[in-house]
Assembly symmetry: D2
Homo-oligomer: 344 residues x 4
């Protein structure tokens, strides 16, 4: 079968890889759709991000859906031919964090298409994938393969939302509206936020955020003071989701955030210089949000029941053989939100 | 002007009352719609509930909307002719609970149409009503007067939902689907619950609950064991909203509720005999939910933005002069969910 | 070796049992001290409690300390001759509750000396005990064997305290001051409670509670209205630990508990008739507390560092061959708080 | 009467000020002791801190105790001659934050000896002070005047501890052990922390921290890698209190803090450059802690009951006429922890 293997920055190849054995408790999934994530782009463009660097060829990809082709002898609860979204996350279940219900901090995590450990964990941009039953979640007929591939980034957004605590009746600000920012609009609305403002430095992502329900979309490149109107009485927003990874976005929102405001930092960035005095004086609560665990099942349940609609975020679906074109499109924020690869 | 005054069980009269003075910080509201609440019915049928008993004639009613007729000289932010939902709750702002942000436990609360204190606080089923600005919330043009009157019971449901903590991805059980139970379906869904089962002993309320989005409606009169299917592995539901005030409903749900399950008790009832051993062994968390405070603004915001739809719960709108017929209809669960009085 | 085996109510025998094999990851512990718990007494006096009933002979006991006699080949971090407190709790680690960090709700729990499952889990009142390394916690030289045996009930109290949330500056009421109630005084004080009132119906336990630091000890048999002084302004206490399992104790405290007060129910009891209206109107939060998990390590750490002093609660230490006398003494609240058996 | 007035950096004068009127609900307090705080030092040395700058002469001081000299006609619950600790905090009680129980974020706060607003709020380093009854807290005979003056910084520490959530059984790291760091040792221990490590760059403060109960005191000037031993398995500490205001202290602790670790930032500092990637990947929770509200009553209760001992932190008590010498001593970390002025 074919897989998309990154060898070095810019060097992404379609290559043959052997189909792995399917264990007695595992599923063999014929991959249909795979979404291109920001981290895939970073491997493609820069060979990694932060301290995470490619050290050997690696199959990319971790946002996939497909159809069950075969099952191990011990598997129950699934049937060949069923469509599934596959979570890329395989925690060990044994370490102290797994035993505390914090599987996203597993000491022995295997996460598809990640160069965090050596040897790298091979990814899911491939025609056939072996998965544990715990990774597979059945898709309803009403959910397309491409939507199913979005279960993973939706899980990231849902995890961030859960890190924020209850959102019913809250005023929410989201800085940065790439795919994660836009999915945060959907997730925060689903969680009951009554007011959602988004900011970005580009027009197209802001339009997408409005399409999925933002009350207000502010271009802070055109108007750097756009949030100033929210600074009266020590601030208006209860919760900030920072999804840009940009220091100016984070710090620029502090004045509009009320005392005891909650900041959920989702965007990865390098170092940021923060006015710690303001964090102290306004008693902000800045929380990191990293990946997800039980939120994958929630994402699929919301998709299956039509309680969220991610379709407006799917910009294009391209065949995996056109990966170069697909990655170029995914990198162009003026044209694309989420680009999906088709592995049929 | 006219008002609906309860004198004794069954003795509800349309009588003239004087229009009160509008203070410099107050609004005079021409009442348009008023919803009949279960507590109104209790005053009408039994002269009260629990230890709360009518001791003097009292204007009934606390779920109202109307239009601003006049304003005190110091009022800003409102204009004559604007439509508002009016919160019945007027906490003192000074006592130790108000200063802790727990205004619903105010030591000097004034709540429209309540016989909890003596003299009773006169209610809002009247043609003109004086309200503090903090009680008035502007309605969008898209929200009807009758929907506006439902802001109050929706606030009760939203408060109960907030008492439960985050609901994103949660499995929710609601026992009892009168108006509050049905509004809990709406509120729990808005807060992100992925599965909502409701139970009741009558068919009509169950159908209403389905109309507003319940995934499953179980008639526990017809099948007392209907919840047994959820008892495997110590239970399925994460959260139970008990809205019937019935001991059997509460206790009957314990087996289907997972360990550490949260029970929000909304329904008032008398004494209940509870298996305290199971509360201990499964470490349930049984929380009372009483009235609301900031949730009134949230209710109006959700209505204004079309983020909830309460219209399916409005069974009928009758002129206030037909109060007897309206109360009889409101008391008939086979025919009515929420009955609204028209005060024009 | 010898063990204390309960055959039927009142029929507790010293009998020979074989020493089990020590697996490669296990420890063989020579038991030195074992505390008699209320549940041991229930087996002895009534053959069980609630629905939990003796169905076959069972070694009693789950509060023990001892010295490591031998170790499996794979064990690290321990040495023969070291003294340990042994947790009676052995969760499976695999089920959904273990994977959520809720090991006390394990679907396949093995807990020493418990008839909850069949075959019963044999207990720790024996001369030699095989334990997993995760069950063993090193005791400091400053901690006596008898104090080490109290690590288990102290864990129960600490778990209840953690269920209550932060206690710094809180006013705490504890109803019932048997060993668990008295340990709750110690634990609540350690957690920062500034005011602790205890109630009981007997003088001796109240004196013990004062010895371990209660600010006030009220005999509600002598003065049933003793708590009335705390009912002004809707109540004084922030948190109630109910450790008697008695309905009157629980309900009798409601008036003295402030709105939003937290009730941690520790005492097992049968059914209780509760004024649900008051739970709703005061928005109490009634939480069950059952056993413990990570609190065992905390209990041993607090004992080792001298941050708690449980010595005043140890009424007597008797040889295991005098079990009958020891159990009789343990059952006499006028004479005994915690009775410890010596297995040397 | 005399007061200590700061006119400019280094220009602190003993001057006559008029005794203010005592209103009907107020107390006139003869000040006995006043502790010199880090912010007092900043006004004295630099004329302010951050954006807060002296713009007019201001009486310094906000950590005081004294004796009631006179009372307004409406005051109850106090008597002339009683000794009190006086909270410097006077929130308005009306604004939206006060009504949410967040009085430390009051929009109209008056805090003794603070140049945050103009005109400045005059301070409490004076012989006579008028206070609201809500500011005064009775001291037990066992508590000295100097200890009473420490109620204020102890409140700051208790507030920070409450911001951290429950500490029972937690591993706590405190970076920076000036007076606030040392009081955090006391407060964290009182709240149930089982392990407390402190770090500083100077020997004397570390010794003080040990005196008040730290398990371990690490000099990170001598051994910058002192915390490395705690980095295995993603970190050891559950909670970090950062009390130095130093970027290196904060960032240097990240490796030793476990995933989901809580950081309470107490120390004010300017901007800090933070590795935001690590905050995200380890899902830290960085919370500002600013001043206090209800914790002042808790501080006094803990002092009155002997549940905390702050005496080891009182380095010296000097007459207010020697303010220059006292401030010089307070600024010398090798010699002084808390320096107290005597106003008799």
């Amino acid at each position: 079968m074919k897989a998309l293997i990154i060898h070095a920055p810019g060097d992404l190849r379609v290559e043959d890889v052997p189909t792995p054995e399917t264990g007695p408790h595992q599923l063999l999934v014929k991959v249909r759709c795979g979404g291109i994530c920001g981290s895939d782009l970073h491997y493609y463009q820069h060979g990694g991000f932060g301290t995470v660097r490619l050290q050997e060829p690696m199959v990319l990809g971790h946002e996939v859906s497909g159809v069950i082709e075969a099952m191990g002898a011990q598997v129950t609860g699934f049937a060949v031919g069923q469509r599934v979204a596959v979570s890329p996350s395989r925690p060990c279940g044994q370490c102290r964090y797994c035993q505390q219900g914090l599987q996203n901090h597993c000491l022995d995590m295997r996460y598809y298409g990640s160069a965090m450990r050596m040897p790298h964990v091979q990814g899911a941009f491939r025609q056939e994938l072996v998965a544990e039953v715990a990774q597979a979640h059945l898709l309803a007929d009403s959910v397309s393969d491409a939507e199913g591939a979005l279960a993973e980034p939706l899980s990231v957004a849902l995890h961030a939302v859960r890190r924020a605590g209850p959102l019913v009746g809250k005023h929410v600000l989201i800085t940065g509206c790439g795919p994660i920012g836009a999915l945060l609009v959907i997730a925060a609305r689903r969680a009951g936020a009554t007011h959602i403002t988004v900011t970005d430095v580009a027009a197209a992502p802001l339009r997408s955020a409005e399409k999925v329900g933002a009350d207000e979309a502010l271009n802070v490149a055109q108007d750097p003071q756009a949030l100033a109107r929210y600074e009266a009485d020590k601030g208006f927003f209860d919760v900030l989701f920072e999804a840009s990874g940009n220091e100016r976005a984070l710090v620029g929102a502090f004045g509009a955030l009320r005392p005891r405001g909650i900041i959920v930092q989702v965007g990865l960035g390098g170092e940021m210089k923060l006015p710690i005095n303001m964090i102290v004086a306004k008693e902000f609560d800045l929380r990191g949000a990293f990946r997800f665990h039980e939120e994958f099942a929630t994402a699929v349940a919301l998709l299956n029941k039509g309680l969220v609609d991610v379709k407006p975020l799917i910009s294009a679906t391209l065949p995996y053989r056109d990966a170069g074109r697909a990655f170029a499109l995914a990198a162009d924020r003026s044209q694309a939100m989420k680009v999906v690869l088709n592995f049929d």
